[in-house]
Every structure is written in C-alpha cells, then in structure tokens.
C-alpha cells in the first residue's frame, strides 16, 4: 500500500477516497478468500487422500468421483426424474409441515404471552415435552396419522411448533416494556395494540424461532424418511447406503445440504425484510 502523506490529502480528494475504498474491497476479498478457500482445501485433501489410496474409496469415493456420478445421474432422463420426484416428496412434507408448525407456534406463543390463563395452562405441558426428542414421538404419529405423508409432515410441524412457540412467547415477554407503556398511555385500541405494537415488538425473536425451525424441519423430515418411507431424499440416502452405492449417497447428502442452504439464505433475507431496524 502506498501511503499518501497526510499534508497532501484534500477533502474530497479522489485518490484518497479511491485508496480507502480499494483497501476495504481488498479486506472483503481476503475474508471471502478464506471462507471459500478453506472448504476447497479440505476437498483437495480428500481428493489427494483418495488418489494416494490412503482412504478406502469404496466408502469414501473421491470428490471428483462423486461429481462425476452426480453429473451422469442427472444427465440420464429417468434417473433425473427419479431424483426430482424424491426432492419434491421431501419438499412437500417440509413446506406443509413447516408452514403449519410456524403459524400454530406463533399464534399459540403470542397468545400465551398476552393471556395469562392460556399461558399458565399450556406452559407446563410445553416446557415438559420440549426436551423430548421429536423423533421418539414418530411411532405415535404414525399410529395417529398413518404411514403416509401426514405423519411425516406432522413430525415436522411438531418440531417447528416448539421452536416458534417458545421464541414467540419469549419475544413478547421480554420485549422492551416501553412499547406496552406507549400502547397504554395513548389508549391505543386493541387491534392496533396487537398488530402494530405487540407482534412487531416480538418480531426479532419470532424470526429467530422461524430460522431455528428450518434446521429442525430438515433434520426431522430426513430422519422420518430414513425410518419409514419409499420416497424422499432421506429414503434416497438410506437406500443408496444399503445398496452400497456410496457415490449416490453422497449426492443425496449434497442435495439435502443445498436445500438447507437455500432455506437458511431465505431465512436471512426474510429477517432483513421483516426487521430492517435490527443490526444484522
């Protein structure tokens, strides 16, 4: 970096501004370099270990091998259609279960926070059942909802419900009390109080619940498909493992990761859209 002597800098000096901007850009590129470079380094080490015969390629095929299998699979029309069908099966369970769980969780959580009898009645049940691994309830859900999509969507709903409910409850309870004071001091009518004050004040926490719910939902839908399904990405991964088609198994893992990644990016975008005043 070439330093400009301080005496020579004029306010509005273009070279100085350009230099500062360049330094900032370089800093950002450096950060991105590490974020992208390190995962690539890990893949390269994996590739090298596979090529050198240090790991058993029957169980850990090289990254290039997985990429090749993926491309071949996706280029074959019937294979491609099959994977799309698995993806759609998972997505439909995921989206249905997630939306239901999120809506129920927010409604129940906010109502609990505002209405004492509701909170006093439900809080012990919700906090007592919260630590139960949701997958442990899956057999019960199958008994209730059958072997089809409904029990899997219900499992997702359950997981997302707890996340959004508890976070919505906390969001209203621990929102800055000044907002409630404003509502009361200005004699704000009930509907305005709810929709313009109470719910927005809890929004940062509600969105946190929604984002945590994404991870829960993905874990639960794939686990449910491992255990009892004939389609979906979970089934695809489990089935590939059982037939020892390890490259396909890894391909399934990559697809699940991509779905999760897109959902997380979407969650962050939703956060920026819904709570622009919070610092991200």
């Amino acid at each position: 970096m070439t330093a400009i002597p301080l005496g020579e800098i004029e306010i509005g000096s273009v070279p100085f501004v350009a230099q500062v901007m360049r330094a900032r850009r370089r800093e950002k590129l450096r950060r991105m370099g590490f974020s992208i470079g390190f995962p690539l380094l890990l893949l390269a080490m994996w590739q090298a270990a596979a090529s050198a015969g240090m790991i058993d390629v029957r169980f850990f095929p090289s990254p290039m091998r997985i990429l090749k299998t993926s491309i071949e699979t996706l280029q074959a029309p019937d294979e491609r259609a099959l994977i799309e069908a698995h993806l759609m099966a998972t997505l439909s369970r995921l989206v249905l279960g997630y939306l239901l769980g999120a809506v129920l969780g927010i409604i129940v959580g906010v109502t609990m926070a505002v209405y004492m009898p509701f909170r006093a009645s439900l809080a012990p049940i919700i906090y007592a059942t919260f630590p139960t691994p949701k997958l442990a309830i899956f057999p019960l859900l199958i008994v209730i909802f059958g072997l089809g999509d409904a029990s899997k969507a219900a499992l997702v709903t359950l997981g997302v419900f707890y996340m959004t409910c508890i976070n919505s409850l906390a969001g209203v309870q621990y929102a800055n009390p000044i907002y409630q004071d404003v509502a009361q001091a200005f004699r704000v009518p009930a509907s305005t109080r709810w929709f313009k004050i109470i719910i927005p004040s809890a929004l940062p926490s509600i969105v946190t619940g929604l984002k945590l719910g994404i991870g829960q939902a993905l874990i639960l839908v794939v686990s449910a498909e491992f255990v009892s399904s004939n389609d979906g990405l979970g089934y695809f991964i489990w089935n590939s493992w059982q037939t020892l088609d390890i490259s396909r198994m890894f391909m399934g893992l990559v697809i699940v990761s991509v779905v999760g990644g897109i959902a997380v990016v979407g969650g962050n975008a939703l956060e920026r859209y819904l709570i622009p005043w919070a610092k991200h």
Binding site: I178, Y179, D181, V182, Q184, A185, F186, R187, V188, P189, T192, K196, I197, P200, S201, L203, I275, P276, W277
Partner: protein, 279 residues
C-alpha cells in the same frame, strides 16, 4: 417560598377554578416489598395545574416523581386521594387525549416510519384520515422533522427520535402533556437546544405541561411553577413560582439575577433532602 406574584408575567393571571386542567388531592401510593413491608412511595400529594401552565416536578431520583407521572398517565394505580380531571374531561372530546406522555427513554416504534409512529399515537382518537394527515404534517413540522416523515427511527439521532416522541404526544392535542425527563438521555449541548425548542413548541401549541426532572436549572428554565418533592415518602415540600413569563429565552433567562437566587434556594431544599437520606 417565592412570592406568588410574578415580576414579568406576560400572561394574564389565571386563578379561577374553571381554568384548572388538573387537580390532585391527597394522592397516596403504596408498595408492598418482597418482605411484606409497606412502603409509602407517595404521601398526601396535592397540587393543581392551570390551563396553559408548565409545572415542573423536581426532586432527587427515587422520590416518586416518575411514579406520580405514571399515575397521571394512567400507567399506574394509586391507593388513596383523588385526581380531578373535570376540566380535562370537559375538553376531552373524541379528538383529544386527556393526557399524552413523552417518556425518558426512546419510545419510538422502530418498525414503522415517523408518520406511522404519530398515527399509532392518534389511533385511539376519532379522526378522519385527512385530519390525521393534517396533524402529522403540522406537528412534524413543529418539531422540525418535515423531511424525515417517511424515514425510520433508526435513521435518526437520539435527539431527533425524542422529537418524534414529542410530536406523537402533541399530535393527540392532549389536555395535559406529561413529560418524564424527556431530555435526560441527550448530551448537554443538544439538551439546551431542545429546551429552547420545547419552549417554542409549548408556546405554539398552548400546551399545559407536567414536566418531571431532577435538573434544577432545567426546571427553572422551562416551568412556571416548580414543585419540589421530598424522599421516602415522596411528599411535596414546596411549590415555587418562577416569574419569567412564557415568552422566554433559554440563555437570557440564565443571565437574570433572580434565576441565580432561585437556583440557590432550590439547591438548598434538595440538598437537605439528599442529606436526610444519607443519615
């Protein structure tokens, strides 16, 4: 006790019953501690606020002045005595609030723009959309934020956000404007600028104000009367008239000889209070 006759009062003296905006008689507030002890937070509080008058509640922290303001704002209950809003009720139609509050901390709603912040304040009143828009335009302009109407609170400085809170309260055209140390979170320079601004705004809107502060100079700069409160229990120790008139200038007022004299008097009263608490 200061002489009740003011030296330079530009307003006609208003001493008739009909001009009372608010009358508080023997107000009492109790708290029960975790150890089941009763603490008297406010004891036998009696005072009147005349229409168009600015009354400062002055006292050290913890003497119950904020509690008193919260009671007047309808945010807290009381355990004895009475608050007579009769004139307030008379003026209080569906287009005015009986009382509107400006809080000490930032109370703007960060999820909505400035115009909607004012609209929420007015949501309890029966105003047409046009009337609401007209009030938003008028009061945002009074606080000097016209170009920020569409902006969000997080885009404004602390002082500007407090102006939004003031505009929100003024827009309800309250019979009584309640202010709880509204400038105490601001830096010293901004505070003096805002004091002048408050004087100007009250003048323009002919506001009746109850103003809580622990700052003696601020109370003298802004108020027509200063109510000095004592601690534990919170009682009224003295009510002092401030003879500077309503049409005053923040800096000029400080140059007056009687400003200094009053300040010293008030200092002594408060010092006694703080001394009592130390014993």
């Amino acid at each position: 006790m200061m002489a009740a006759t003011s030296l330079q009062d530009e307003r006609p003296a208003r001493r008739t019953e009909a001009d009372l905006a608010l009358s508080v008689r023997g107000l009492r507030k109790l708290f029960v501690t975790a150890r089941s002890q009763i603490v008297e937070a406010l004891s036998d509080i009696s005072f009147e606020v005349r229409q168009g008058e600015v009354v400062a509640l002055l006292g050290p922290s913890g003497c119950g002045k904020s509690t008193l303001l919260r009671i007047l704002a309808g945010l807290d209950t009381y355990d004895g005595g009475m608050i007579d809003w009769s004139l307030g009720e008379e003026l209080n139609n569906a287009k005015r609030l009986r009382a509107a509050t400006v809080f000490q901390q930032d109370s703007t709603l960060p999820w909505m723009n400035i115009a909607n912040n004012l609209k929420v304040g007015m949501s309890g009143l029966r105003l047409s959309r046009a009337e609401q828009d007209e009030r938003i335009r008028k009061y945002i302009s009074i606080v000097g934020l016209s170009q920020f109407v569409e902006g969000f609170p997080h885009e404004l400085s602390g002082g500007m956000r407090q102006r939004v809170s003031i505009a929100r309260a003024l827009a309800t055209e309250p019979v009584l404007l309640l202010m709880d140390e509204p400038l105490s979170a601001l830096d010293a320079q901004t505070r003096v600028v805002m004091q002048q601004e408050l004087l100007r705004m009250w003048q323009r809107t002919a506001s009746t104000v109850v103003y809580v502060t622990h700052d003696i100079a601020e109370a003298l700069t802004l108020a027509d009367r200063v109510i000095v409160m004592t601690c534990r229990p919170g009682r009224i120790k003295e009510i002092c008239d401030v003879p500077f008139g309503r049409n005053r200038d923040v800096l000029d007022v400080r140059r007056r000889a009687d400003f200094g004299a009053l300040e010293v008097d008030l200092w002594k009263m408060i010092a006694e209070e703080v001394g009592d608490r130390l014993q």
